[in-house]
Amino acid sequence: MTTTALPRLRKSRSHYPLWFYLPAGAVYGVLFIVPTIASFYFAFTRWNMSGTEFIGFENFALFFSEPYLFQGMVNTFIYGVLTSGLKVVLGLLLAVFLTSQIIARGYLRSVIFFPTLVSTVGVGITFTVLMDPEEGLINRALAVLGVAGPGWLTDPDLALISVALVDVWKGVGLATLIYIAGVVAIPQEFFEAAKVDGASAYQNLRHITLPLLRPATATVIVLSLIGGLRSFDLIWAMTQGGPGFTSDVVASVIFKQYQAGFWGLSSAGNVVLFLLVAALMVPLYWKLNRKEVEQ
């Protein structure tokens, strides 16, 4: 760098004024950062129409002692892990399949992707009807095959999983797309070299495609975990947490406490969700990034 370049650099810096941060920062700060910080205060209060009263950790004690609030936390974890796991596996398989030499590739990619774009509530209501234990299309089709279909949304052991499956149905297209981009970016030379070595298709997948898709996997996991842990729309549209509390997640618990007028407890739910997300995401982020570096 020459001495004449320095003043020019300094001068050009001022052409990127810091006040460009201001408008976005104001909206973001007031409507996102302030409420997030405030939630840490309100979570320690009994807050309802009559006002606020500081009560220490009582709200959190409730969350961990009441079986149905605690169940919401467990369900959130199950839902997040199940949906992102399935999206990784199915997305990867579909991407490998859809980048191979088959007919109607464009059509298949479109069909798999477009549920991503439609209304979650609309999908939820539609599948609630399709999954009806007696009148639903799914169980009627199974009955034709001689199988007695389960109560997808009415069986307490199954309701959460059924909603998670619909979530995967709706979201697998995005995962597939990300993987397709990853697969396409793999240089063909790798496969040609492998061909010379006489590698099988499985070996190609195992030793070339999978390792090189690690960044795409990281993206899919992070995106779908964030989405899955915060998921509300689909669950609310399909089961509203039922039957009973069996498919409640933290986001639906927060909404129910809000509706009941327990605003402090609802805010505590937000803090719990925050901690749950952070506890899962931070180590994951760290691990995924480190692996990328090692690569």
Binding site: N48, M49, S50, Q259, L265
Partner: protein, 435 residues
């Protein structure tokens, strides 16, 4: 929450007609800038009929326009009422539940005390208890007494030669007989989309029997001295639900059936009993008018045949928010509602009627059979209010808990204990003594 919930459904067929009646009102919010009186009501058939009748009669006699603004029912509606009260964004008047739901609105901070108004003199004491907080009274009743018991199909009873049961054992025997006959599901339950609230009737509708066994139940419950789990009479409601479910008496599609479908199944004779509030009759009438004459009604039976009484719900009321700037026209409308002219207008507008809570109001003779049966409980004095009108404490999660009992996910004992925890949460929120 229960008492708003049956009102939440707008029966589809009549909704269009009702919507036409309310057509011009959808977009109006806030105070009476155009000189009209604005009132926020829930979007149920029952409330819509009554309020429209009152509004029309009032406009006719005074020339003052009344505009009705609809809101959703259920816990979502509760939420809207709370936030609009809080933000001072309420119309001149609003319709809302009496009892424990009113207490959750912090009425001393948000509503105008009506106790010194002369028109309150004709409101019966029974009702006043449901809109009282301290010395203040907040609401004027719209509508009539509602019973919480069992709606049943008259044809099924006639065919099998059954009699109206006055004890729980007799009820279970009837269920067995209906099951054995093999045509009809003895008890309808509906836990489908947005219908979980219907599961609460076994517990909430049993309050007459609880009070018969434990006269001080309501006070002790409010004071954290008695609980569902440690009061056998109170736990019985949960046990009854469990017994019915375990006896195989439920309709096979209970888990996915909705409230409206349940009413249709009862009217069609696919189910014999449906534990429900009598407001459901208004919904049935709106969709299938003839079906109302095929239905009967009895109280949820307890242990004593000689003391088979009914748990009753108070109707909702009109409240005057403190944020209303010009209270004169609103007060005038309230005076009209709390008068015999008001009752007559309601009687003319709705056909399913029960006793009014305004002194001097009368009920016509020709009523559907279920309403006549409802009336006999009042005539013989065998009624007691539901717990939510005797105590400010009602847990918000009861409907999920009773769904779990009815679905066999949770035992009755466990459910009663869990509901006590839920109640505790609510009591602490209200800042009650002793919790």
């Amino acid at each position: 929450m229960l008492s708003t919930q049956p009102l939440r459904r707008t029966a589809a067929g009549a909704a269009a007609a009702l919507a036409a009646g309310l057509a011009l009102t959808g977009c109006s919010t806030g105070g009476g800038d155009d000189g009209a009186l604005n009132i926020l009501i829930d979007n149920s058939e029952a409330t819509g009929q009554l309020m429209q009748a009152l509004a029309d009669a009032y406009t006719e006699s005074t020339g003052v326009e009344v505009e009705l603004e609809l809101r959703p029912g259920g816990s979502e509606g509760d939420n809207i009422v709370k936030t609009r009260l809080q933000t001072g964004d309420m119309p001149d008047l609003f319709f809302y539940n009496s009892g424990s739901l009113l207490q959750a609105l912090a009425p001393d901070q948000t509503l105008v005390d009506l106790s010194s108004e002369s028109y309150m003199d004709v409101v019966t004491d029974t009702f006043k208890d449901g809109v009282r907080a301290g010395d203040a009274l907040y609401g004027v009743p719209v509508g009539h007494a509602v019973g919480g018991g069992v709606l049943y199909n008259l044809a099924v009873y006639e065919e099998l030669g059954l009699e109206v049961p006055t004890t729980w054992d007799a009820f279970m025997a009837n269920n067995q007989a209906i099951l054995d006959a093999g045509e009809t599901a003895p008890v309808i339950q509906t836990y489908g989309t947005e219908s979980a609230w219907t599961s609460q009737l076994f517990v909430l509708g049993d309050n007459y029997n609880v009070l018969a066994a434990e006269p001080d139940w309501a006070e002790e419950y409010t004071g954290n001295e008695a609980h569902f789990a440690d009061t056998p009479a109170a736990a019985a409601g949960f046990e009854h639900l469990q017994e019915v479910a375990e006896g195989g008496f439920l309709n096979s599609d209970y888990a996915s059936l909705t409230y409206n479908e349940g009413l249709a199944a009862l009217a069609a004779g696919e189910g014999a009993h449906y534990p429900m509030l009598t407001t459901a009759l208004t919904e049935i009438e709106a969709t299938t008018p003839d079906a109302v004459d095929d239905l009967g009604f009895f109280a949820l039976p307890g242990t004593d045949a000689a003391n088979a009484g009914l748990t009753t719900w108070l109707p909702g009321a009109l409240y005057l928010p403190q944020s209303t700037e010009d209270q004169g026209p609103a007060q005038d409308f309230l005076a009209f509602v709390a008068s015999t002219e008001g009752c007559d207008a309601q009687t003319a507008g709705a056909s399913v009627i029960g006793p009014y809570f305004i002194e001097g109001c009368t009920v016509p003779e020709d009523v559907p059979p279920a309403v006549a049966q409802l009336q006999t409980y009042f005539d013989s004095g065998l009624t007691a209010p539901a717990l939510e009108f005797l105590s400010p404490v009602k847990g918000p999660a009861l409907e999920q808990i009773t769904v779990e009992v009815g679905s066999g996910i949770r035992t009755a004992d466990d459910a009663a204990a869990l509901y006590d925890e839920d109640v505790k949460k609510q009591a602490q929120q209200l800042g009650l003594e002793g919790w």
